[in-house]
């Protein structure tokens, strides 16, 4: 469970997040949606402690984030930031095993690491050197690493997975694969918070959607409630139509640019 | 080549007394040892020991300021003669600590230092009489040099250029070996407004207006001869450049302040005054 009260973040004169209140519930897949510059990644960085809020407080599992010991926190919460290059020739398996850093038992967890790789359909990459992987392959390996960090057994202790655009480099099959893994984590009791760009994938996998614009949450709730044609049109400055996804019960969004 | 050096070293080692093995780290020191006739005891020299030619064939212990303790010790010396500014200090201290006598000789650019060096080397190698004779001869030469110099106001103005090639040319100001030599030769340094060496600039050369340009033989060679040297910006506009008055002497002879100091001063004075066209001035 993550909670934020009166959260603001200002850089010089620009207010990137403005007095925002939110609660991310355990056992749910929560997606943060919004146009570029809406403050999605900033919000995620604030919630995971990478950025310090200008005002407001964040609570993780009921305790203010600042009071958490870094290592304890790392056992309960894994964060996947946006893509960054790895400068040294680690193998994919070695990178995944870094997920066990907070426990100090990386040496004995190879089987578990391979299982994490299997969950992201990248077991065959285990012995590849990460500097030779494609963007999508590296993203799957990094995803496996954060999975290994908090584990995937059913939990009741408020574990949390925070992903910043985890599927930006993936092909459709792997996009669905990754989001399915994230949703399964939520089904097992984990708090899952994901920044996404693809409205239809969000509609398909999220239990709860936070729609952001200009640093504020303009709507939140189940995808069917939040994703109306008017609201999507207004937030994203497009003309939108909503139908029903023929493959599942989720709403399906079609958009075009408004006439000038 | 290396085997030759080793063979020579062995030959010298056999020739000299077992107890008398000298390492010299200074061109003027080496020259003094030869002048005193003590060269049989010399087993190794530094890279500045280029005169006499035989010295250059001895094993080299490196640059006088970058000596190696073990390198010196490997020559099994009984006496190490170095310049006051030879080093590194630690290396020489280590050699001393191991029980080898290290004598540091003054190497300022003065007649006193030159005489002192001859005297000390002479007493260290047991040639005090020869040293006294050498000093007397040096004084005689210097006396002749100063007597043959004309009145100070008519003495030629000399610009000393130090170069090692690569287009880098330095001009000596006051308190340099060249400045002292020019004075001993009865001439005037054309540059007196700074101490030490400064890079040659066209305007400064013209302002100095030298009657003669003085260089070392190696310097002239590295500059590519008189013609190339005079192509340096500014030099053509000086009286020396116009009349192509360039004097060159061997490096160690001119600047070493060794036992040939008197002769060098004498010869320099003669050459400077004998430069073509200068007499009419």
């Amino acid at each position: 469970m993550i909670e934020a009260r009166q959260l603001s973040f200002r850089v010089r004169e620009r207010e990137l997040v403005r007095s925002l209140n939110l609660r991310v519930r355990p056992g749910e897949f929560t997606a943060i949606l919004g146009p570029n510059g809406a403050g999605k990644s900033t919000l995620l960085k604030l919630l995971c402690g990478q950025l310090k809020p200008t005002t407001g407080t964040i609570f993780f599992a009921g305790k203010p984030l600042a009071e958490w010991n870094a290592r304890d926190l790392a056992k309960y919460r894994a964060v996947l930031p946006q893509q960054s290059a790895v400068p040294f020739d680690f193998t994919a398996l070695e990178v995944v095993l870094l997920g066990r850093s907070p426990y100090g038992d990386a040496g004995s967890q190879e089987a578990l690491a391979r299982e994490a790789l299997r969950m992201t359909d990248s077991e065959h990459l285990a012995d590849r050197v990460v500097t030779t992987l494609s963007g999508g392959e590296l993203q799957r390996v990094q995803f496996a690493r954060v999975l290994l960090q908090i584990g995937w057994k059913p939990v009741s202790d408020g574990r949390c997975l925070m992903l910043d655009e985890p599927i930006s480099n993936l092909d459709p099959a792997h996009q669905h694969g990754a989001l399915q893994v994230a949703r399964n984590m939520a089904r097992r009791g984990v708090t899952v918070l994901v920044v996404l760009h693809d409205l239809n994938l969000a509609a398909q996998y999220a239990d709860h959607v936070l729609l952001m614009k200009q640093g504020a949450i303009v709507a939140e709730g189940a995808p069917t409630e939040v994703m109306t044609a008017d609201r999507i049109g207004e937030v994203f400055s497009v003309r939108a139509r909503i139908t029903k996804n023929p493959l599942c019960e989720a709403p399906a969004v079609f958009v075009e640019l408004p006439p000038r | 080549m290396r085997t030759l050096v080793v063979l020579l070293a062995v030959a010298f080692a056999l020739e000299s007394h077992a107890s008398d093995r000298i390492v010299s780290a200074g061109g003027a020191i080496t020259e003094t040892i030869y002048a005193l006739g003590a060269q049989d005891a010399l087993v190794a020299v530094d890279t500045s020991s280029i005169y006499p030619e035989q010295a250059a064939a001895l094993p080299k212990v490196g640059y006088s300021r970058a000596l190696s303790a073990e390198g010196i010790l490997s020559m099994k010396p009984s006496l190490v003669l170095v310049n006051a500014d030879s080093g590194p200090t630690e290396a020489l201290n280590q050699v001393e600590k191991i029980g080898v006598k290290v004598v540091r000789l003054p190497n300022e650019h003065t007649v006193e230092a030159a005489e002192n060096r001859i005297r000390v080397v002479g007493s260290e190698v047991g040639k005090t009489e020869e040293a006294d004779k050498l000093i007397a001869a040096l004084r005689d030469d210097l006396k002749v040099a100063s007597e043959s110099a004309g009145k100070p106001e008519t003495a030629p103005r000399v610009l000393f250029i130090y170069t090692r090639g690569g287009g880098l040319m330095n001009v000596s100001g006051k308190n340099t070996a060249a400045d002292a030599m020019i004075a001993l030769a009865g001439a005037r340094n054309a540059v007196t407004d700074y101490e030490g060496y400064k890079p040659l600039t066209a305007e400064a050369a013209v302002a100095a207006a030298p009657d003669v340009i003085l260089v070392t033989a190696k310097g002239l060679e590295s500059a590519g001869g008189v013609d190339e040297l005079l192509k340096q910006p500014g030099l053509t506009l000086t009286p020396a450049g116009q009349a192509r008055r360039v004097v060159a002497l061997d490096d160690l002879y001119l600047l070493g302040f060794g036992p040939r100091l008197g002769k060098a001063a004498l010869e320099l004075g003669q050459k400077l005054r004998a430069s073509p066209g200068l007499a009419q001035k």
Binding site: K45, C48, G49, Q50, A70, R71, L73, A74, K75, R77, A78, V79, P81, S84, A85, V86, P87, F88, D89, F90, T91, E94, V95, L98, S101, P102, G104, T131, Q142, R145, Q149 | A44, T47, P59, K60, V61, G62, Y63, R65, A66, L67, S68, A69, E70, G71, I72, L73, S74, M75, D85, S86, G87, P88, T89, E90, A91, Q94, K97, I98, G99
Partner: protein, 340 residues
């Protein structure tokens, strides 16, 4: 396995370093001299003195400096997330040299009356301060983006090296101290000053660096993923960065204070170790310490022997091997598009 081979190599380098030199000492005599030292027999003879007061401290200093520079290189590369971060290339060694020169000028010319300036520990402390200053400066430069761009790092190094070169040139021009006047000592390095006293002063610094560095192996592995990633994995990144900077500056500072700038060691050695056993810092750090110690002792032995009885500046040798390495790595990084 590889580590065992590296230990053997280090022992071998010590044997070679003790055996070879301008003075020829037969192996049997070396053993008997060393045995004499162990049993406390009285020292006598030139060979004994050469071995015990010239070669032995030099070999020990070589081991320490080789290990120190290599571990400092490995730490710095992990910290800056860039395999080209080498103390000599990015200006940290120059900073240390500046500190050392400053302390000598201060101690010898400006303030000869202040007793603390003549304390044996002042020189390495000043060098440490210089190294720390440059590292902090470069870290501040690097801090703006998540990882350190090669260009930023190397350009900063060029600037610092040029600045320090000018200041050292000026100081050597001013100073009368014989050691200062040999500019080549600072630019090309030499182990020629080694004696047991210097070994004694440098030992705690180098030993501290080499024994404490492995404590940061896990953090450096995590840091390879990025600073944010390392923080999310539970590491107190800012504190760890501070400690690593402090540690590398201390190691580089003391090495430079007594042996000048020996370039490329911190670049080449960790790179070779990565080729042998991979980038995992848990092995990279001890591996670099061992290989660096061996290679520097061998390089110094070569420098002592190759033009005997003269000596070649060791920096010429390390640069001859290191510079082509560096160019190769630069090309490789360019291809990987990390150049930005």
């Amino acid at each position: 396995m590889v580590v065992a081979a590296l230990i053997v190599a280090a022992i071998g380098s010590v044997i070679v370093g003790l055996s070879l030199g301008a003075v020829r000492i037969p192996p049997g005599e070396i053993l008997s001299i060393l045995w004499g030292k162990l049993t406390g027999a009285a020292a006598s003879g030139t060979h004994d003195a050469v071995l015990w007061h010239l070669r032995a401290p030099r070999v020990v200093l070589g081991l320490m400096v080789g290990a120190g520079l290599s571990v400092a290189g490995a730490l710095m590369q992990g910290l800056f997330r860039n395999p080209l971060a080498d103390p000599s290339l990015i200006g940290v060694s120059s900073g240390a040299a500046l500190g050392a020169v400053f302390s000598i000028v201060l101690g010898g010319v400006l303030l000869p009356t202040l007793p603390f300036l003549h304390h044996a520990g002042f020189l390495p402390m000043a060098a440490f301060a210089g190294a720390l200053g440059v590292t902090l400066f470069i870290q501040r430069l690097a801090n703006t983006s998540g990882y350190t761009a090669v260009a930023t790092l190397l350009l900063a190094g060029v600037a610092v090296n040029a600045l320090v070169g000018a200041v050292i040139g000026f100081a050597t021009f001013l100073a009368t101290d014989a050691q200062l006047r040999t500019l080549s000592f600072w630019t090309l390095g030499s182990l020629g000053a080694a004696d047991w006293k210097i070994v004694g002063i440098a030992l705690p610094f180098c030993l501290g660096l080499v024994t404490l560095a492995p404590l940061f192996a896990g953090a450096l592995n995590a840091l390879s993923l990025g600073e944010a990633e390392a923080a999310h994995l539970g590491y107190a990144v800012e504190r760890i960065k501070g400690l690593i900077i402090f540690l590398t500056a201390a190691g580089v500072g003391v090495c430079v204070a007594y042996t000048g700038i020996i370039g490329f060691v911190g670049l080449v050695v960790p790179h070779l170790v990565r080729l042998m056993i991979g980038p995992d810092h848990r092995w990279l750090i001890p591996g670099s310490a061992l290989l660096g110690a061996s290679l520097l002792v061998l390089a110094d032995t070569t420098a002592r022997v190759i033009v005997a009885p003269a000596e070649m500046p060791i920096g010429i040798l390390t640069a001859a091997f290191g510079a082509p390495f560096f160019l190769g790595m630069l090309l490789r990084q360019r291809r990987k598009a990390l150049w930005s």
